[in-house]
Every structure is written in structure tokens, then in C-alpha cells.
Symmetry: C2
């Protein structure tokens, strides 16, 4: 196994900042670190804000809003709106790039789903509509297997 360490990932992220002409500030590192600590999570604004404040109590909302926007623009984070909330995730972790979210209406869990069929499907859109897809948001709402099981048990 050659899993990439969190330190390595941070190095990559810092390189990404440099590449984009952004300064490596402590506030930005704190933010990116929140993502690194929990790579599979989709964070909403409030959670990010609370987590950032744990590291730096004076972290300002404006700073967070500004950096989120910059990071999304520069392609470091992706933004996904589910329900009424915006969720952010490190694009780095989604080498799969375009993936789908499976959102459970019962427990609110957000899982990711990816398959080569999705790529095939997108290529088909390109061809059929002469539309160049370069990014996609796919949200499927439904009931996850855990909740299905729980519901069945309740009915017993």
C-alpha cells in the first residue's frame, strides 16, 4: 500500500495555491486542514465555520466566504447544493471528477457514487447535443439501505 499521507496531501494543496497565485496564509491552511481531517465528508458552511473557529477563534465569516469562493473558482473545491445548503468538498479526493451523490431523505446521509457508465453517459450527451460537458452535479434522492432496513424492522 502506498497511501498518500495527509502531510503529502497538504503539500499538494499548498502547491495548488501557489500555482493559482494565492498566498499560503494560516487561515487558508486551517480551512484546507478541515477537509483533510475528514476526506470523505461534504461540509456545509456552518460546519466549516465551527471547525475553523476551533483552530482560530477569530476566524471571520467574510474570510471563509471569500476563501470558499476563491477555492471553488480555482477548482480546488467543488460546491454542491443539496436542499437549501451548499456543500463543499476537496476536488483532489474526487479524481473520479464527475460523480453522483446518493442523498438519503431519511437520515440525510450523502454517499458518493461513481461508475464508468457515467463517463459513457456523459460522452453520449456530448455527441447527441454537441454540448461540451466539463463539470456535472448529480444528486439522487431516495432511501439508503440502512434506512430501508430500519423501516422494515419498525413495521414488524
Amino acid at each position: 500500500m502506498n497511501a498518500i499521507s495527509k502531510n503529502d496531501l497538504m503539500t499538494l494543496l499548498i502547491r495548488a495555491l501557489k500555482t493559482n497565485g494565492l498566498k499560503i496564509t494560516e487561515k487558508r491552511q486551517i480551512l484546507l486542514n478541515v477537509f483533510l481531517k475528514n476526506p470523505d465528508t461534504h461540509f456545509d458552511f456552518d460546519t466549516l465555520y465551527q471547525e475553523a473557529k476551533k483552530e482560530w477563534p477569530h476566524y471571520g465569516v467574510a474570510t471563509l466566504y471569500r476563501n470558499l469562493r476563491i477555492f471553488v473558482d480555482k477548482g480546488i473545491l467543488s460546491e454542491n447544493i443539496i436542499g437549501n445548503k451548499k456543500y463543499y468538498e476537496l476536488k483532489m479526493f474526487n479524481k473520479k471528477k464527475i460523480h453522483a451523490h446518493l442523498i438519503c431523505k431519511y437520515c440525510g446521509s450523502i454517499d458518493e457514487y461513481y461508475s464508468p457508465d457515467l463517463v459513457k453517459y456523459i460522452k453520449m450527451i456530448d455527441k447527441k447535443y454537441d454540448f461540451d460537458v466539463y463539470y456535472g452535479e448529480l444528486n439522487f434522492y431516495g432511501i439508503c439501505s440502512n434506512c430501508k432496513r430500519a423501516i422494515k424492522n419498525d413495521l414488524k
Copy 2:
């Protein structure tokens, strides 16, 4: 051709209101009529508000917000968030139900796309993840054919 007339569609919508225990008020009819007038359009709040005000100058924001939420909850309208805006469309027109939006980053146009492959794709998710999909939002961002052509001409 047996195209359904707008009157018929309004009748269906009114029936939908009744079925859901909602009163048939003038304000609601005005709102639904905005959608009927332009069936293929995805309306944002401001556009809906302006259109409603044309028919009833005192139409209030609260009324519009409330009715939009009710209609979305009852499944009469669907809500889709693109960029920072919420867009609404009559579900009635989307018998296809789950369809994708092709959003052009240049001109902002929003086209709809549907194919049986999408249905197949969703069924696969059901099976593979044991996740019951009952609704989906799919937004693909890219460049539409018109803009591609325009860009090519500019480069000449």
C-alpha cells in the same frame, strides 16, 4: 395531433391543487399561468415575481415564496438550484421526470436532456447500492453548440 391545450393543462393543475387540499385562489392561478405561458422555461424567483406582478400589482413576495414552497412540497413544481439561483418548473411538463439540465457557462442557457439510458443508469444505482432513487437532479455544465460556434468565429 392531439396536443393538450393550455386550458386543459390549467384544469389538470387545478385538479392537482384540489387533490392536495389546496384552495384555488386567484394568486395561485396567476402563478401557475406564468408557467403555462412558457412551458419550456426554468423560472427564477425574480422573474416569477415580476410576471405575477404584471397580472396583480400587489402580489407579495411572501405569497410567492409560500406558494412556491407548497407547490414544490406537493410535487407540482420542481426546484433546481443552479449557480446561486433557484429555478422552478412545472413537473407536469416533465413526464420524463428525471432529466438532466445542460447549462451553458457562456450564455447561461438551460436546456433539458433526457434519454432512456438515464433510466437504465438509475436502475443500476438501485441495484448496486441498494438505494431507492425516487428523484434526481442532474446538472451538466459546459459549452453549448451555439457558443462553441460563436467562439470559433471570434477566433477567425
